[in-house]
């Protein structure tokens, strides 16, 4: 295989597996920028995958190919509501945010399988008939060289994810909403004195994170896994958190980090088929994405500045 052929395999694969991470990491940014740690992204993704698959299965007879798309929207709504549990616990009831997130993960894992068993009478679902398919974008995919690398054999959701990253960047850095959201995560007391409703902003932040993680999970389920079982979401949420931190809580940074994970992963898979790399023990390729992340954090990315008030429940007048 020549280099371009390798690229034409690796890049679409990276785009493919990065999309769910991008959505979820972007969601995490909303929550954490508002000052609420969200370890629960894993559980939210799981619940999103669950909702996405169940909805697709229920809708595919009537909606056909539209079913997975509608399912993603349903997952977004359901997970926004589901994330309220985390919001109530960590914002209103001032629970330890990390712990509340961990509890959300447990809850999603238990509840989704419990419900699957109740609904379908078995431990995992059937495969969905209509997926979010990989497509080659008409026109663009015919461009010599880059057409095959960038615009072929990739699900539309990947492009939506990338576009969304830029939209989120705009929202967070250019709009009043974004400014207020960030102020609440940096210095809630200051925001409060400026008349910003700290609690409401944090609820919104957490619910958007739930929505996006739900989308991320549903996208994973409807484009990659195509059914739902206990192990469908196994760590992707944590990887999304890592991408968010790696990207320094910045939408474009998170996009880059998620792409980096996707790339490293697809390289570790494709590597087994590329001469020279082939001779490297496969375990080294498998762990490469994780090792590279650590090296990158240590070497050139440096200290990540988390939002200052991250993880601190807001109490009026606390000294």
């Amino acid at each position: 295989m020549n280099f371009l052929e390798v690229l034409a395999i690796i890049i679409p694969a990276a785009l493919y597996s990065a999309a769910p991470l991008i959505f979820t990491a972007l969601g995490g940014i909303f929550s954490e920028r508002s000052g609420v740690v969200n370890i629960g992204l894993e559980g939210l993704m799981m619940f999103g995958a669950f909702t996405g698959i169940v909805s697709t299965l229920l809708l595919q007879d009537s909606l056909g190919a539209w079913a997975p798309w509608v399912a993603i929207v349903i997952a977004a709504v359901v997970c926004a509501v589901f994330s309220l549990i985390h919001a109530v616990a960590s914002i209103t009831l001032k629970a330890d945010q990390t712990v509340s997130g961990v509890a959300l993960n447990f809850l999603a894992a238990g509840l989704s399988i419990f419900l699957i068993k109740k609904i379908f009478g078995k431990g995992q679902t059937d495969f969905i008939q209509f997926r979010i398919d990989k497509v080659s974008i008409p026109g663009l995919s015919d461009i010599p060289v880059i057409g095959k690398i960038l615009f072929s054999n990739v699900p539309i959701t990947s492009y939506i994810a990338i576009a969304l990253a830029f939209a989120v960047w705009y929202i967070i850095y250019k709009t009043p909403f974004g400014l207020r959201l960030r102020s609440v995560g940096e210095h809630p007391m200051a925001a409060d004195t400026m008349g910003i409703k700290v609690v409401r902003m944090r609820y919104v932040g957490v619910m958007i994170s739930g929505m996006f993680a739900g989308i991320g999970g549903a996208v994973y389920a409807t484009s990659i896994a195509t059914n739902f079982a206990a192990g469908t979401i196994a760590g992707q949420g944590f990887l999304a958190i890592a991408a968010m931190i790696f990207g320094k809580w910045h939408p474009i940074g998170a996009l880059g980090a998620a792409m980096f994970f996707g790339l490293a992963q697809s390289l570790s898979i494709t590597g087994a088929q590329i001469p020279v790399i082939q001779d490297i023990p496969s375990v080294l390729l498998t762990i490469a994405p994780y090792v590279l992340t650590i090296l990158a954090l240590t070497g050139f990315v440096g200290r990540a500045e988390a939002p200052k008030a991250l993880g601190v429940p807001y109490e009026k007048g606390r000294r």
Binding site: I9, K122, S223, I224
Partner: protein, 341 residues
């Protein structure tokens, strides 16, 4: 014949209604679209045929953790179940322990053997996966247009190696020029990886992939379907495993055929024997082509006549002992040498 002490406790006059049979799945559960499911289908059939009630006469327990295997097995034994299956080689050690602890109960292990332990309350159920894989290899070799064929394994282990080597032997026997590209996902539960590996292999020019990768295999189907949507010239195939995976390939119809492993038959068969006081305790029960324990799936619409004919020929050769299908890498090398001569 079975151990005499077995005969003693489940006397000849024992009615079917008193017979209780259970099974413990690995963490896959009874709808894993693979051998747990197949086993449960067999057990269900057995139960229905013999008028047993689900839940009291026949029953399964799904394990959610490896540490539960043993306690789940003992639950059946303690509750007076006559026979308990452990589905999958992962339960081997646990069956060994349980069998020693509950000498009055019978156990059966699927996919591995405990023969050397001399436990006469344990039957070991084995399959000749290499034989079935050989046959689908023949189909692949006959139908490839690119002379490149892929194999994706779940986790590199002696069991999956049997699939790979049998398959390769089948391919090479028919078409020595065909190249088989093999890769292991190192996971039975990573559709993402399955799809990425399949994408790589298809991109390298393969048009058929045989997957023996459990849940990871789902990703292989997804990738094949995605590609086949791109038009006729992009059509690629998957060969399914364990069960007839024709459905998994729909609606794009990408399942060429499947290598079926009749865990259901085996489970039913051993249960029947146990009920009839012929429990093969302490023995290996092997299901190969001869026993119809492995073979090509009944859905054969996508398989060419030519290929089917070849399959029949090779099947006969295997049955006749003219061909001994290799199981390990070493045996495969030997086998390949015989082909070149």
């Amino acid at each position: 014949a079975c151990g005499s002490d077995d005969a003693g406790k489940s006397g000849g006059d024992k009615k079917a209604a008193d017979f209780k049979v259970g099974m413990v799945t690995d963490t896959g559960g009874v709808d894993d679209k693979s051998f747990n499911q197949s086993a449960w289908e067999g057990l269900t059939k057995f139960g229905k045929d013999n008028g047993l009630d689900e839940g009291t006469g026949y029953k399964y327990l799904q394990s959610t953790k490896a540490s539960e295997y043993e306690s789940n097995l003992s639950k059946f034994a303690e509750s007076g179940y006559n026979l308990t299956y452990g589905i999958g080689f992962l339960l081997k050690e646990d069956i060994k322990k349980a069998a020693k602890q509950y000498p009055d109960a019978n156990f059966a292990l699927v996919d591995d053997t405990l023969k050397s332990e001399n436990l006469d309350n344990v039957a070991s159920i084995l399959f000749k996966e290499e034989q079935g894989s050989f046959l689908v290899g023949v189909v692949a070799a006959k139908q490839t247009k690119t002379n490149k064929i892929g194999f994706i394994g779940g986790v590199e282990s002696p069991l999956i190696k049997k699939f790979e080597n049998g398959f390769k032997a089948g391919v090479k026997s028919v078409n020595p020029d065909a190249e088989v590209i093999s890769q292991y996902a190192e996971s039975f539960n990573s559709p993402e990886k399955g799809s990425a590996i399949a994408s790589t292999i298809y991109s390298k020019g393969a048009d058929i992939i045989y997957q023996a990768a459990g849940g990871t295999g789902n990703g292989v189907f997804t990738e094949a379907k995605n590609r086949s949507k791109g038009g006729k010239d992009k059509k690629v195939w998957v060969i399914g495993v364990d069960r007839d995976q024709h459905e998994e390939g729909m609606p794009e119809n990408v399942t060429l055929t499947s290598m079926v492993k009749r865990v259901d038959l085996a489970v039913e068969d051993v249960a029947k024997k146990a009920m009839d006081d012929k429990f093969p305790g302490g023995k290996e029960v092997v299901f190969g082509l001869k026993e119809d324990g492995v073979g090509i799936a009944p859905s054969q619409d996508n398989v060419s006549k030519d290929a089917l004919k070849a399959v029949d020929e090779y099947k006969q050769k295997i049955l006749d002992g003219d061909i001994t299908v290799p199981q390990t890498d070493k045996e495969f090398k030997e086998f390949e040498k015989t082909l070149k001569k």
